[in-house]
Symmetry: C2
Subunit: 243 residues, 2 copies
């Protein structure tokens, strides 16, 4: 690994990376339609997708340091050199994976929008997040590893879009409080708690299966989890649990 003089890795953030892949820089946008399939850039799109998918899996296992480009390449079914053709460095690949996760991240929070009924909105949000924990356990774990490690690669996102979103949604919660619709609570902490209660079922699944004596966390467990979380939050806010 030639370009690694000091310990300090140059920390490529999600903002700065993610373009400029391939020997030639980011392949000017496809002319005309660009429907995702078709002719130009099709090979690239397909291979990039395969590599990203493999990378997500491998990074999820042991984080950035634990993953090897060789293993990712093997899993993606391409020679290592080909992987490095699309993603110059391991860092670039890692950032690209995080970008994908981050994007899908925001949809969920966006959901709680509006001045709809607090109980319904919160229940909906919890259900969505729990669903994500079940169906996107791997990205969730990768995200967790990144944050536990300090979240260096996603710092701009955290301090930017996410923070702003939390402020927005927090304002809505505060309005509910002011209107006497829910009990008093610190809005950001409410979000932290909901995130924790849902993501724990992805991140700490291994601990739960062991404790519960199950081989996997099946749908029934997730239903119990959703119900438990919903009850605690809604009742905790002085609302009636819809059940």
């Amino acid at each position: 690994m030639p370009k690694r003089k000091t310990e300090k890795a140059k920390v490529v953030t999600v903002a700065s990376a993610s373009k400029r892949a391939g020997r030639a820089a980011g392949k000017a946008t496809v002319s005309s339609t660009d429907s995702g399939n078709g002719s130009a850039g099709a090979i690239r799109k397909r291979n990039v997708a395969r590599i990203l998918k493999a990378a997500e899996a491998v990074f999820s296992k042991d984080g950035f340091a634990g993953a090897s480009t060789a293993e990712i390449a093997r899993k993606a079914g391409v020679p290592k050199a080909n992987l490095h053709y699309y993603f110059r460095t391991k860092q670039d690949l890692y950032s690209a994976v995080l970008v994908e996760i981050v994007e899908s991240w925001l949809d969920a929070l966006e959901e709680i929008e509006s001045d709809s009924d607090p109980a319904a909105a919160l229940a909906q949000y919890i259900a969505k997040k729990m669903e994500a924990a079940k169906n996107s356990a791997q990205p969730s774990r990768l995200w967790a590893i990144e944050i536990i490690g300090g979240g260096r690669h996603v710092q701009p996102f955290l301090k930017g879009r996410l923070r702003k979103l939390v402020e927005e949604k927090g304002a809505i919660v505060q309005k509910w409080i002011d209107q006497g619709k829910i009990e008093d609570i610190d809005p950001p902490h409410l979000f932290f708690m909901i995130w924790a209660m849902t993501q724990t079922y992805a991140d700490f699944g291994a601990q739960m299966t062991a404790v519960l004596g199950r081989r996997t966390l099946d749908d029934a467990v997730f239903e119990d989890a959703t119900q438990t979380a919903t009850r605690l939050i809604l009742r905790g806010l002085g609302l009636k649990s819809p059940l």
Copy 2:
């Protein structure tokens, strides 16, 4: 690294490792008092402690794969070869660190014992766990990384002592439910939620500081967190929050 043929690491569990350090096996227990200081074995004890402390810090940063024995040795202030004198392999050292964490782990759960008042007991437990998240953030993060990675090294602990403990304490919670003292809830999930709500302040601290626009999570934040968690749980169970 000579002894690494296949990818499959031999997974030394906490049960199997942790003794047999040093060139000569586990140094027969010190005769007489063994007060921790004194003459015989003093050097060993001191150095082992230093190395373990350094190892905990380094492993916490990037998990097993991300840590290097060289860095741990540097941080501990001993030559790398000396580290390998006390801990034959990186795995041994990792397991030893986990053992230490695991031991301190159980105390907290042990706390919720008894047929005392549910509200008081739970509030106490949450406070204790949150305190641990604040004061033992590093071990908490290391534990999280281990579990996210599948918890291979602590499998016996999870399926053994922890599972049994959860069963015991779960029975107490169930009794509370049966006696009509608290609302109906799935006991294991209640524990999962409490663990999640408290540990998230250690594991996801980086995300919170960014979102909150703070530089660190200070005492005030932890007070808010404790209050929020306590309220949600107690009210969620139909209890009066003690505030």
